[in-house]
Symmetry: C2
Subunit: 330 residues, 2 copies
């Protein structure tokens, strides 16, 4: 039987927590056996001059950042690219992607970690932690009481792997959950699902607004000055998606004006946030450095399990999990 | 039937959230009926020249701060003093308290709110939120990963109403819980219970150390330089009790030296923390202004329910709930 050639595209300076190393691959193969066909893993740096050739010789590839100009080449065997991230905005537009190659995201891999992080973020927004952190900077003992969180409402924009995990966290805190999705239909963990056309009204009603959707040309700055102004002054905002979903100047202006009570954002535009950005000192804003979804123990193992499953699906002619739909760009 | 005279001792500048106002008393009486004997509530400011007389004429009193020199007076009818707080360190020593008067705390009233706050604090310490808040002040994008919280260990010093609620929160996050109490015996919500003599060893093992005990002469500075040095460098610390339980200079030195990963404290010594205190700027420390236990919606109602129950117990000759034991000073 032909051994499948699998290439790991390694980009320079990747953080250890995300590295797909041989020991993790071996462990994933052991978990996947015995139903796993024979595969041969190889590694290549994305800045290696031979990278294009190595891609063309592979049946499947896993990576995060890679030079897309090398993907479509005559006689290439490549059938599957597994992106080791939930978002692929750094690979857009997808004009480099041949129709013969399935591109898959790691959507869902983050769910267990994000659920824990989201529980914390809801409780922090509810308990006015952004206010206390700002008051502490000013050496001010400034009370702000909160009651129980149960019964408040969470508006979660995006109902995919991450949005669903956030909604599960919200429900375990006995929040009411409203999800925003393109195709409105009943969705697990959500009490109500609405379309993007109903977003303005929902923003004005919610106690917590959380972004958890892909960044595409149509979602860029979905939270803009107008929408921040619509928020209730006691409401809190969080971004688990991508920095570009938010007009950061508008967020800062809204915090300065007090049209919302506080915000906790895990993503910024750009990243890392430059040290001279005025966002660092915006009042009642807590910034974490894009790791709300990243569990150092489980992230790579779960991504590899997904990748191996997708390799099997590819071979069997079954649908690929998390396959990117070109027209919606995620 | 003789109507019981109940006095509400109001101290000046009390925050609205803690005020025992007629509408709240009426609501509590309605909840307690029909088993409640007739009572007559009256109000008196603690700085009123007639305060001493009013106390002597009352059968029961509820208050937080009051002049203790007026309590023991010849011919006084007073049998019960309900303190509207879990801690009575501001009333120590108890040399002013006649043996004929039962003094009760509001221990347990805070449990539902504290459970929510403790869940947040455990997740914040685990997720390195004190680190991120410090990094943000320095405009630094500084990653620090965390995995799942389940399986970590929480050492909770104090197993009373607040400590028990913290342990319940810890258990719901699937932490292992160790409680420290004077009389070592199996205690609800705790996997293990140890005595104060075993504290040094336990401090060195715990992932989270939480203080939730009364401040008495024997617990003052229970967390001192030596104990902070014993902590694991990745461990987090929280104080839900009283500021005086912690040697604050030692806490600051430990944070500067990195012998613990971060701290979240809801209480300081003194309170409010003076604006020139160096504690405000200690690294990886989050300070909240003594409200972790205070639910503006339920605090006074639950305290009044306890008080009315204690009045009934007093009349029936049954044991008072939360009666302060003079020898242990809480």
């Amino acid at each position: 039987m032909h051994k499948l050639n699998v290439l790991v595209a390694q980009y320079p300076n990747q953080e250890a927590v995300f590295r797909i190393i041989p020991s993790r691959v071996e462990a994933a193969l052991a978990r996947a056996a015995p139903s796993m066909p024979p595969v041969e893993f190889a590694w290549c740096a994305t800045d290696d001059p031979a990278f294009g050739e190595r891609v063309a010789a592979a049946d499947a590839m896993i990576g995060f950042r890679f030079p897309t100009e090398h993907i479509a080449s005559p006689g290439s065997a490549l059938k599957l690219i597994q992106v080791a991230a939930a978002g692929i905005e750094h690979l857009l537009p997808l004009d480099w992607l041949p129709r013969s190659i399935a591109l898959a995201t790691a959507s869902g891999v983050h769910a267990p970690k994000i659920r824990e992080w989201a529980t914390m973020v809801f409780l922090m927004l509810h308990s006015r932690m952004p206010h206390f952190v700002s008051a502490q900077r000013a050496h001010a003992w400034s009370k702000a009481y909160s009651s129980h969180i149960a019964g408040r409402s969470a508006l979660i924009v995006g109902t995919g792997g991450i949005g669903g995990a956030i909604a599960a966290a919200a429900r375990s805190l006995r929040l009411r959950t409203t999800g925003v999705r393109r195709n409105v239909r009943p969705t697990r963990h959500f009490d109500t699902v609405i379309g993007l056309d109903a977003l303005d009204g929902a923003v004005a009603e919610a106690d917590f607004i959380v972004l958890a959707m892909p960044l595409t040309p149509s979602t860029r700055h979905i939270m803009n000055a107008d929408r921040f102004k619509r928020m209730k002054p006691e409401a809190g905002f969080a971004n688990f998606g991508r920095g570009g979903l938010v007009d950061q100047d508008a967020l800062r202006a809204a915090l300065l004006a007090g049209t919302l009570s506080g915000a906790i954002i895990d993503v910024t535009d750009p990243e890392p946030l430059p040290s001279d950005s005025p966002l660092w000192d915006a009042p009642r804003l807590i910034i974490t450095p894009h790791l709300s979804c990243d569990d150092p123990e489980s992230y790579v193992p779960r991504t590899l399990d997904l990748f191996l499953d997708n390799i099997r699906r590819c071979m069997d002619g079954r649908p690929i999990r998390n396959r990117v739909v070109r027209s919606r760009a995620y």
